[in-house]
């Protein structure tokens, strides 16, 4: 059976990570920024799973489960804070967060 080589997974994961990182920087919508962060986390997850399968070890799988749990907790807290921000200023645009500047 032909399998996809490890490199492909790692390159895909690097691309996903880059897309996520650019998304956080470029996007002005807070919700989209959160989605971009999730893409970054999933890029790391993909790398972990690929390595884990390649090395025939289970540690990576366990790591991914915990990362997913953490990501869910983070998203829950994050969206709650976004709602609080929206209630305070009727906007989820990152440019509206300009109360404090140096």
């Amino acid at each position: 059976m032909m399998t996809v080589p490890l490199d492909y997974y790692i390159i895909l994961s690097a691309f996903l990570f880059a897309i996520g990182a650019i998304g956080v920087v470029v996007s002005r919508n807070l919700i989209v920024m959160f989605m971009a962060v999730e893409i970054m986390l999933n890029a790391a997850n993909l790398a972990l799973i690929a390595f884990s399968r390649f090395l025939k070890l289970m540690d990576g799988h366990v790591f991914v489960f915990l990362v997913m749990t953490v990501a869910a907790a983070e998203a829950a807290v994050g969206l709650a804070i976004v709602i609080a921000v929206f209630r305070a200023r009727e906007s989820v645009n990152a440019d509206s967060l300009n109360l404090m500047k140096w």
Binding site: A43, N45, A47, D59, A88, W102
Partner: protein
């Protein structure tokens, strides 16, 4: 059956946090004192539970209780104690969710304690997240305040991005070494190095990703942009907890990973695969930017934010040294920094609560209206600046000595020059309090818990400056947890 004794302090504090939560639920009294005093008691009991701790490990070394972990746990407990002690005023004014506030601080402390004990990447990552997720909520705790929600959101996004970057670095390290245990990572990396004579660019990328991820948590320049905003917007006791507890937690992670696992790559001999010279540059720009930007701040929380960025730079000087002396020096540094910084923020919280102002200019004449508070503030500020009889001076001295010993003389010279700059803005606060002719209308008497915090911080700063031996002994023992 696994013997969970090494985990006892964490388990106890976690259960106690739930008790605190329940206590607020079932008590009919509308005051902050019940959950607050319960939390303080829980932290003290956890501290006692730490005393019999000796070298022990759980689950094949995932969780260790070595002197380094115990030392940092004492710092976390101390920071949480002082943060909660100075929160009574804030919590008293809350109409809702008073118990949750204290519970979240305790949860975050449990996360920090896990982090300090982690000797394995999964535990370390989860510990870091357990630390920061409650802090996101705490930063945004005053929901009605635009500044607080803004601070919470900024902290949240930066924190999520930095942990994603950190995780990406960890995943590459896992791929290279095939293990998540720090000790095994060291061994596998050396085997890799000996068999191939080269680690390839992947290792450099992983090193930089981990460094960047943790530098965000520690607010090192250029990863510091979030810190002043978050520190200014958050409720003041939370800011204090962020600036000490969360910073010490990030530092514990950096020391565990870089000094614990990547010690072989500390020196520039290993260039370009070394982290020592990169971290030295980060430390240098952190000290320069932190101290210079602090000068022009008018808001005292923002000034202290930049000051704590600069302090993180000084701490990094000790990490760069990557030696026995270096680790014991930074342990002592964080210990003394905890007292001084928590004390300073506690006073800011007391003043802001009474006068509603966080401006440095509004401290004018403070020495006449509230001489004791002004004196304490002066002591904390002088300790942060590193003036001789106080703990902050000895801490700086040891860190700089460690760096000189490791051959980073240029960094120490720079650190000394920037501490001279720091005298300017630190002295500015004291000048405002003592030399300004304006009368200050507010005679401020702190509440009992806040007074307790101030007394503790004041005693800590003075006592450990005059006789640092007991803490130094513990700090030296902490450094013995690492192999150099």
């Amino acid at each position: 059956m696994v013997n969970l004794t090494p985990l006892l302090p964490e388990l106890f504090l976690f259960c106690w946090a739930l008790v605190v939560l329940a206590s607020d639920l079932f008590s009919k009294r509308r005051s902050a004192s019940l959950p607050g005093y319960l939390s303080l008691a829980g932290l003290v009991i956890t501290g006692f539970l730490l005393i019999p701790a000796h070298d022990a490990y759980l689950w094949g070394g995932m969780f260790v209780s070595d002197p380094f972990a115990v030392f940092f746990k004492i710092i976390f407990l101390g920071a949480a104690f002082m943060a909660i002690g100075s929160s009574f005023g804030l919590a008293g004014r809350m109409t809702h969710h008073r118990g949750e506030y204290f519970t979240l601080i305790l949860f975050s402390t449990v996360g920090m304690m896990f982090l300090a004990s982690a000797k394995e990447l999964i535990t370390l990552y989860v510990g870091l997240e357990l630390t920061t997720i409650p802090l996101y909520v705490l930063a945004a705790y005053t929901k009605s305040s635009r500044a607080s929600t803004e601070a919470g959101l900024k902290y949240m996004i930066i924190g999520a991005v930095s942990s994603a970057v950190l995780l990406y670095g960890l995943s590459i390290i896992y791929g290279l070494t095939g293990t998540t245990f720090l000790q095994q990572i060291t061994i596998n990396l050396s085997i890799y190095w000996l068999s191939y004579g080269e680690l390839g660019p992947a290792f450099s990328i992983a090193l930089m990703a981990i460094l960047a991820g943790l530098a965000f948590k520690l607010a090192l320049v250029p990863f510091h942009m979030w810190a002043p905003d978050v520190y200014e917007g958050s409720p003041t006791p939370v800011t204090a907890f962020l600036s000490v507890g969360s910073k010490a937690a990030g530092l514990a992670a950096i020391v565990r990973i870089f000094v614990g696992a990547f010690i072989a790559f500390a020196t520039p001999v290993m260039a370009p695969r070394d982290w020592g010279s990169t971290l030295a540059v980060l430390a240098a720009i952190t000290m320069i930017v932190g101290n210079i930007v602090a000068i022009r701040q008018t808001n005292i929380k923002r000034m202290l934010a930049y000051s704590s960025i600069a302090q993180a730079g000084y701490i990094m000087v000790g990490v760069v040294a990557a030696s026995n002396l270096g680790v014991s020096a930074i342990s002592f540094y964080v210990f003394s920094y905890m007292f001084a910084n928590m004390g300073a923020f506690a006073i800011v919280a007391i003043i802001a609560e009474r006068t509603g102002s966080e401006q440095i200019a509004d401290l004018a004449g403070f020495s006449k209206s509230s001489p004791v508070l002004a004196g304490l503030m002066a002591i904390f500020i002088l300790s942060l600046a590193g003036i001789p009889p106080l703990a902050g001076f000895l801490a700086k001295y040891y860190v700089f000595a460690a760096a000189v010993q490791a051959g980073y003389t240029w960094l120490v010279v720079l650190a000394l020059l920037t501490s001279v700059i720091a005298y300017y803005y630190y002295a500015n606060v004291i000048r405002m309090m003592y030399l300004s002719a304006d009368p200050n209308p507010h005679h401020i008497v702190p509440s009992f818990p806040a007074g307790l915090v101030l007394a503790l911080a004041g005693i800590g700063v003075i006592l450990f400056g005059l006789m640092p031996e007991p803490i130094l002994k513990l700090a030296i023992a902490a450094a013995s947890s690492f192999v150099f």
